[in-house]
């Protein structure tokens, strides 16, 4: 790109914010790449679903949430957790199945939880998180709290009965829920056109009477702007909102997936819309990011990941004697909130 270079304005809060978006996306990208390697090295096991290519979605949406808001996610949730602020150490330790993992090693990649940031997991039943989000919204509604619950799921989940039931409930009861459908055009190997008779998911959502629109999921600023509008409306009593975020996963569905069902050319073409590169290039071209700044960012992220891996390697295992701990509460009901 042959754009003019300007000296980045250090004190420009908008640019500062943009760099934070970039940092978040980079943290996700590099974390996922590290996970893939660690999986091959058999440090991480089970199913592993990476978010590479979809970083702008989590980053844009989380950026507008308040600490008191809640997030409900899926099995492809590393990016959500990172963007939400779950510490990377706790995430990596969880992948390693360690006691210091954010789910004490019991959840693994698909079941990340973090009460401090109201990150209500990591649900590996496709569509299973939607009712939960409705319930969190109901609790806020009944308690009169101006909170928002953001619920992430794929376009494949939109074919499940729970999608329909949950959207209807949320709309019927006017609950403060932000539904974020990450439309990456595939549910495992099944393409959008084989999943849905009508592929316009936002239109479907709006048929329940909630505000719903589609947004370019490869443009983090567009995602953020849409999310901001939606979250503000929800917080001010506007009822549930729905974002269909058009994105693409650059890697296979999971580490098990040989990715046979997508044309190579399609994947290659989509990779030219890389959301991380796109933002970096835009900022650079418009003079809000220098090569040195980017290099520093990369270095900081790499260091954070290296530290997280180091932490995970060293972290203790949960004692086997505690296997059945947490099947029931250690706590009394008064302590449960």
């Amino acid at each position: 790109m042959a754009a003019r270079r300007r000296t980045p304005a250090k004190a420009d809060p908008a640019a500062e914010h943009e760099r934070e978006l970039l940092r978040t996306m980079l943290r996700i990208r590099r974390f996922e790449e590290a996970c893939a390697e660690l999986y091959s090295a058999t440090k991480i096991r089970g199913f592993l679903h990476l978010y590479v290519g979809e970083e702008a979605v989590a980053t844009g949406v989380m950026s507008v949430l308040e600490p008191d808001d809640a997030v409900v996610s899926t099995y492809r949730e590393h990016g959500h957790a990172l963007a939400r602020g779950v510490p990377m150490d706790a995430l990596m330790a969880e992948m390693f199945g360690r006691q210091t993992g954010c789910s004490r090693g019991r959840g693994g990649s698909m079941h990340l939880f973090h009460a401090d940031t109201r990150f209500v997991g990591g649900n590996a039943i496709v569509g299973g998180g939607l009712p939960l989000a409705v319930g969190l919204g109901l609790a806020d509604h009944l308690a009169g709290r101006p909170r928002v619950t953001a619920c992430f799921f794929g376009e494949g989940a939109a074919a499940e009965g729970e999608f329909h039931e949950s959207l209807n409930l949320a709309a019927l009861w006017h609950l403060p829920v932000l539904f974020v459908c990450e439309n990456n055009r595939y549910a495992m190997g099944t393409s959008l056109a084989h999943e849905h008779a009508r592929t316009d998911i936002a239109l479907r959502a709006s048929s329940y009477g909630m505000a719903a629109w589609a947004v370019d999921g490869m443009d983090v600023r567009a995602v953020e702007e849409s999310a901001r509008q939606a979250v503000e409306a929800i917080r001010h009593g506007g009822g549930p909102h729905f974002l269909e975020v058009r994105t693409y996963r650059f890697r296979a569905h999971s580490m098990y997936d040989p990715d046979r069902y997508r044309p190579k050319a399609e994947v290659a073409e989509e990779k030219t819309h890389d959301p991380v590169t796109a933002l970096a290039e835009l900022m650079t071209s418009e003079g809000r990011l220098t090569d040195r700044q980017l290099a520093t960012l990369e270095k900081e992220v790499a260091a954070e990941i290296a530290a997280a891996v180091e932490h995970a390697e060293q972290a203790p295992l949960e004692p086997v004697e505690d296997l059945t701990r947490f099947v029931h509460s250690d706590r009394t009901p008064a302590e449960v909130t």
Binding site: S103, G107, V120, L132, L136, N168, L172, F326, D330
Partner: protein, 331 residues
Amino acid sequence: MTATMVKTTYREALREAIREALQRDERVFLMGEDVGAYGGCFGVSLGLLEDFGPERIRDTPLSESAFVGAGIGAAIGGLRPIVEVMTVNFSLLALDQIMNTAASLQHMSGGQYAVPLVIRMTTGAGRQLAAQHSHSLEGWYAHIPGLRIVTPATLEDARGMLWTALEDPDPVLVFEHGSLYNLAGEIAADAGPVDLDHAAVRRPGDDLTLITYGGTLGRTLEAAEELAGAGVSAEVVDLRTLRPLDDATYLGSVTRTHRAVIVDEGWRSGSLSAELSARITEQAFYDLDAPVERVCTEEVPIPYAQHLEEEALPQVRDIVAAAHRTLGEQP
């Protein structure tokens, strides 16, 4: 000093328990199909909408998975929902939420998210409702780690189990047998919460132990009465809580009587009765004077016709016959 007694029914006792919970704790609300305007499909919540309003007596659409899941979410969000699933038959539509979310969340999250949720549902057959409305699946639910399963069989338990269940930080499922709603009798005017940890000996006896719960307690007591007429002293244990099982009570009884008959309205193969039989064998094998007997439902989708349904379900005569078999006698 005897307590003042008042007349009530199982249905009213349940209703008063819900009312009390709504009054005591503002986080409590009731949600389910037709709990409000209709008054509950079996009339349990009749009148509560008028007293507590539609936010706390919340009618839901026909969406079992979503509103049970919403109950889970609301519990995590700080409320104390009582979710009514009309009957256990329809709970299959919400089973994924119950098993994979409600029961698992706490463990999966390493102890971060407890689910203080109560789910009530009707169970059982006996009213000619045919195959799709007559399941007894509480035994299935008792298989799921992370849940507590209770089965009120008496007025006291109908009145008292709910509050204790709401105090449990973890999910509790309450199974109300459909044939019990009209059960009438007297309870103490100040009847309140009851423990959920112990089985109860409903009738003491020495010759054998009859173990049951919920809807078959009545028939089991009848059988014990009939056995008494034949000179056989049967102890009747009401399990009350199916998960976790209170092994001490029924095993204590069997260790003393040396004979056990389990009465369970589930289909025989794979019913809770199998678990009880296995545990008795494992823990009291050398105390047994006869093989454990099971009186269960025939393995057939429950038919509508009265004579067929009756034949399918455990009857007093079947219990009496099984008791005599353990005693090596012809009835």
